[in-house]
């Protein structure tokens, strides 16, 4: 806007000074709020702001120093959380580079995963990985969503096949463009309420068509079995694609509400729980808390989406669907 304003002023031969970001009165970065704007205007006019916003903020910061951060995290039931749990197990003991991309899965950047070597813009992860794979010894892997796959990943895939590069691409296929509000895209199954006349393009067909040597599809919630599927893809010489498929939890809930399918929450059987807190520390599902008297994990029914992945990772098999018996010990590995 600043540059266009200057251009217009020049066209009209106006002899005015136009101040903005160019001379540093306003920052190139940041989400602006009132204090930032007031300070910018004051500095342009050579004045001091009338209100001391720093003082207000300082007082507020003291009051809230007790608060834990509320970082962005995957929703309860999010298939991405499950996929990343399996990836985390599969890469144990390996040196990996993990290039992240733009979508809900970007949150792998945050705890407890802290898994991100780079994060740039939509579709960048495969291009970067392709380059890195030619100079690094590490396993190079990257992740995109189904929407980002169609939007900006195809050239990178062609490039990886053409040069036969050792990269593993995860496509987290949750049926919709989740982060921006569950919009449809060319890979969304037709029976999800798509308008008439749209034709689904399957991600696996595209990958095989381009000539990817190793394409595998996994159910995001099948976490334990997925670990080996992931290891195999990482060992494959040449480009490999792993499609992790499960509908976005919020989108899935919407469909369930429409079809009348119930959402059955999980609960912890305190008699079995030995309180290793695996569900809490490794999983970060927002539906988990623990009781202050005995430290046994507890699932908040208002938040739990009933995906049941926590039951699969519990080392003691103490989590079960409401109204069902706890799963037998076979869950333990």
């Amino acid at each position: 806007m600043e540059h266009n304003t200057k251009r217009i002023a020049k066209d009209f031969g106006l002899d005015v000074t136009i101040l903005g970001k160019d001379k540093g009165h306003f920052s190139e970065a940041m989400e602006y709020n009132v204090p930032i704007v007031v300070r910018g205007i004051a500095s342009a006019l050579g004045m001091e702001p009338k209100i001391d916003y720093d003082e207000i903020l300082k007082r507020a910061d003291e009051l809230k120093s007790m608060l834990p951060e509320r970082m962005p995290c995957f929703c309860a039931g999010c298939p991405h959380r499950a996929t990343f749990w399996a990836i985390k197990q599969a890469i144990r003991g390996r040196n990996v580079v993990f290039n992240n991309d733009i979508g809900c899965y970007s949150m792998a950047f945050f705890p407890p995963l802290n898994m991100t070597s780079s994060l740039l813009c939509m579709g960048s992860s495969l291009g970067l990985s392709a380059g890195m794979s030619q100079v690094l010894e590490d396993d190079v892997m990257c992740v995109v969503g189904d929407s980002t796959f169609f939007h900006a990943t195809l050239p990178g895939l062609v490039n990886s096949v053409y040069h036969n590069l050792n990269v593993t691409l995860f496509v987290l296929d949750n049926e919709v463009t989740a982060m921006t509000g569950q919009q449809f895209h060319p890979g969304t199954p037709e029976d999800r309420g798509m308008p008439e006349g749209k034709k689904r393009i399957k991600i696996e067909d595209v990958c095989r068509g381009i000539g990817v040597g190793h394409v595998a599809i996994m159910d995001s919630y099948d976490v334990k079995n997925n670990v080996d599927i992931i290891k195999k893809a990482l060992d494959f010489k040449g480009p490999s694609v792993l499609i992790s498929r499960r509908s976005c939890a919020l989108h899935g809930d919407r469909i369930k509400r429409r079809t009348g399918e119930p959402i059955i929450q999980n609960e912890v059987n305190k008699d079995i729980c030995k309180k290793p807190h695996t569900c809490i520390r490794d999983f970060y599902c927002p539906s988990f808390e623990f009781d202050t008297d005995d430290r046994a994990a507890r699932i908040l029914p208002e938040i739990c989406d009933g995906c049941g992945v926590c039951a699969k990772i519990c080392p003691f098999g103490s989590i079960h669907r409401k109204g069902e018996e706890a799963p037998a010990k076979e869950v333990k590995q």
Binding site: P68, P112, L250
Partner: protein, 219 residues
């Protein structure tokens, strides 16, 4: 009721509590009442469980939807910690309508687990901090009231009812209820109106000693 006065409101809470819908309901009530409303939403990356806050400026001749620090007339917080997170926006002696619900973020739960501690942040600790800024804090159990009304999903509507207790809030009860009715499924209308009334009553009881409130019978 001061129909033409201005009201700056911060609405906050945790993703999934129906906060955007809540602000839409108030916004369309403003349109019905011919009051100008400007609003700006800030929600984190996550659709659920992240922190959310919305600025809403009703009436007045504001050019910007953003409320400056220390100028909000009220904070409506659907989760207790979040009221404290945005406390810099509240004016001195402003009103806080505060849900007693404390939703512990995974990072807090995991940290306590690792350190083998059990001292979760409590509602009372939060309220004490808020009271150092303003005496006008109305705590209410949004989720319990919503359940009492017949559906836990009406938690957000409880807080619209709560706002209607404030004399300074420039929207009439009828307009607010009309707007609620247009925004919720038909079969859930009665539950929502009950949630609205329960919210009104709880806020009235919590605030009428210190703040001017609207008196009305609830059915």
């Amino acid at each position: 009721m001061s129909q033409d006065s201005k009201f700056d409101l911060v609405i906050c809470g945790v993703g999934g509590q129906g906060i955007v819908l809540l602000s839409n309901i108030i916004g369309s009530a403003c349109a019905k009442a011919d009051l100008e409303a400007k609003t700006g939403e800030l929600h984190g990356l996550s659709q659920r469980s992240g922190t959310i806050y919305i600025h809403m400026r009703i009436g007045g001749d504001n050019l910007s939807p953003l409320i400056p620090y220390a100028e909000a007339d009220a904070i409506v917080s659907l989760e207790a910690m979040e009221a404290l997170r945005y406390i810099e926006y509240l004016k001195d002696d402003g009103v806080i309508i505060l849900n007693k619900r404390v939703i512990h973020p995974p990072i807090e739960v995991a940290q306590l687990s690792k350190e083998k501690r059990t001292d979760f942040i409590t509602f009372d600790e939060i309220k004490e901090k808020l009271n150092s800024v303003t005496p006008n804090v109305a705590p209410l159990s949004g989720l319990d009231l919503a359940k009492e009304a017949g559906n836990p999903l009406t938690e957000n509507v409880v807080f619209i009812g709560a706002l209607s207790a404030l004399k300074a809030f420039p929207l009439e009860v009828e307009v607010l209820k009309e707007s609620v009715a247009e925004s919720v499924p038909k079969k859930a209308l009665n539950v929502n109106l009950k949630a609205f009334d329960l919210g009104y009553k709880a806020a009235y009881d919590g605030l009428c000693q210190s703040v001017e409130c609207v008196e009305r019978e609830i059915g």
